[in-house]
Amino acid sequence: MAARRRLPFWADYLLLPFLNLSLAFLVSGLVVLLLGENPIAAVKLLLYGAFGFGEAVGYTLFYATNFIFTGLAVALAFHAGLFNIGGEGQAALGGLGVALAALWFGHLHPLLAIPLAVVGAALLGGIWGFIPGWLQARRGSHTVITTIMLNFVAASIMTYLLVNVIIKPGQSAPETVTFAENVWLPQLHGLLQPLGIAIGRSPLNLAFPIALLCALLVWIYVWKLRLGYELRVVGRSEPAALYAGISPATHIVLVMTIAGALAGMMALNEVLGAQHRLVLGFTGGYGFVGIAVALMGRNHPLGVVLAALLFGALYQGGAELAFDMPRINRDMIVVIQGLVILFAGALEHMFRPTLEALFVRTRPVPV
């Protein structure tokens, strides 16, 4: 058997995702037609709503921040061959960590209080990732099922605590008191104003650069460190890992803990950067969107950032769209997410044979 050449890099990482994405949007367009609206007009409104003015861009980036965190949480676990569907629960627990830190240490100096809140988010999210990691590594329980189950357990814990324990006294809505301002993550429009840069008012905050930093660190971890090399061996072949003296269990526990911590840090953006209090259900499905983001970004941190921007734009643009087109509501964005996961994830190989055949024909390989 002679060597077989695969698709060139650009076709694999750009053309293929582009084709898949186009198909997802095409089907979304059909749904819009089904709703009785004009898809072209909808796209225009969506794009304007996402990028048309300063605040819009701010909101787009704000949502993207959530998706970078949850997307990285899924993508990183993928490299160990694990499917982390637990982003939702990990993010919820991360929110609890943020809230506890903010309630206990909110009176301290921001330079002390904010890092403590970051640690709180990463710690509790990390614990919620550690559990399925440990169960997978030591007891062989599949993470797909355990992370789903833990999402529900997390929801129960959060409901119990927010209804009975850390609820703001004297009210019925399940949320905590507003945190001390010391621990709020500074919003970027406020930070940039003194420098003479005016961006619109939006909840975009310091969590955004933190998310970008996390993406960079994940990239270094997976592709530059020995740890990442070993992690990828574990993800692709457990027998090969054992052969190479790598402990799959150690790496699985480590990577799930880090993934949980990343998902947990999503709470920085929502809880510490925007709402400034813990509200039940603040995760709003962002943990699940992380799956779409990771698949779309082909589990590469740069891809995750780009896909997160796309989804941020969809969220923000979709909100504006729902406002302007009465027959479309915000759930339409959820439909598009589902279609993107379907076409970019489950059907990612649909065009591959055709493309490969095309490339073989145009560039014959010496046998």
Partner: protein, 324 residues
């Protein structure tokens, strides 16, 4: 004494009602997972069924039209699942997640556009709901001690889908262990290559399993929106699909144990609803969230091998590719 008996009966009665969609969905999962396709999409297919049932029943005024619409839509979703994971050999979990998310958005979107109600479809049309059936002689023998109330309160007075779900269990067990389809189904989840070399199409077997699963999840969905309740609501499955999956695992992918697991989980749910705010002697108020979390915790413990051991069909999760 009599009062306690009645309480127990009522508890059993609501267990049965709550178990119905779980049983149907768990059996659906059984077909698909025994064939080698992980069915994380039970949730979405059920929700899709609930949506289609409510929409069709409300428009036509016929509960059966709703039921068939639910089956039709759930089977359509099953075919999409199959196209992605069987024909195109995509990841079964990813495609399942995609369906769940897509349907979660599609239902409210269409409900909004077509019925003008924010994310819900009320089922108000005459005849659009499955009504409780009174079994023969239920009233007559009500006064007979013990048997009377059991018959009249517990067994009688459910809608047809509840009985259908209960009948489905022995039927599925028979099909699985005594029929040609069942033999091939069990084989294709363990060793698809053996099935292929025996001259049976692996893809078609798996498609058929998914279609059966679609029918069952469709019925489960219809039960939610036009039998148990009278409307379609956003996220009205509320994790029942995942719970059914847990029950299936708990039942080790076998029909009768899966039924028992569904009853156990439904019982926990029924108890939880009754204990809301009730002071239990010696214990105090039990947080209902703790009871709600029990099925999930039990499943995790089972999967971890702390209580028994669940071994999945061997070929589960893997797209079938001829070697080379």
């Amino acid at each position: 004494m009599n009062d306690l008996f009645l309480q127990v009966l009522l508890l059993a009665d609501s267990t049965l009602r709550l178990a119905t969609p779980l049983v149907l969905a768990a059996l659906a999962g059984l077909f698909s997972e025994r064939s080698g396709v992980v069915n994380i999409a039970l949730e979405g297919k059920m929700l899709g069924g609930a949506f289609a049932a409510a929409a069709a029943a409300q428009l036509t005024g016929s509960a059966f039209a709703g039921l068939f619409a639910a089956i039709g839509f759930a089977v359509f979703l099953a075919l999409v699942h199959g196209f992605a994971s069987i024909t195109n050999r995509g990841d079964q979990v990813v495609s399942g997640m995609a369906l769940n998310i897509m349907v979660a958005g599609l239902g409210p979107t269409l409900a909004d556009a077509w019925f003008g109600q924010a994310g819900r479809i009320p089922v108000t049309a005459e005849g659009a709901r499955f009504r409780p059936l009174t079994l023969p002689f239920a009233e007559e023998i009500r006064e007979v001690p013990v048997i009377g109330p059991i018959y009249a309160e517990l067994l009688s007075g459910h809608n047809i889908l509840v009985y259908l779900a209960l009948l489905a269990v022995p039927l599925v067990a028979w099909v699985l262990y005594r029929s040609r389809f069942g033999l091939r189904l069990r084989a294709v989840g363990e060793s698809p290559e053996a099935v292929d070399t025996a001259g049976i199409s692996v893809a078609w077997m798996r498609y058929r399993a998914l279609i059966v699963a679609g029918v069952l999840t469709g019925i489960a969905g219809a039960y939610l929106s036009v039998a148990q309740n009278a409307s379609f609501l956003r996220d009205m499955t509320a994790g029942k699909g995942y719970l059914a999956l847990a029950a299936l695992i708990f039942g080790k992918w076998r029909p009768l144990p899966a039924l028992l697991a569904c009853l156990l989980f439904a019982f926990a749910d029924a108890v939880q609803a009754r204990l809301q705010g009730v002071e239990v002697p010696l214990v105090g108020t039990i947080p209902t969230e703790a009871i709600q979390a029990i099925p999930y915790l039990l499943t995790i413990l089972l999967l971890a091998g702390f209580v028994g051991r669940a071994v999945a069909p061997k070929a589960i999760g893997q797209p079938y590719v001829k070697e080379r």
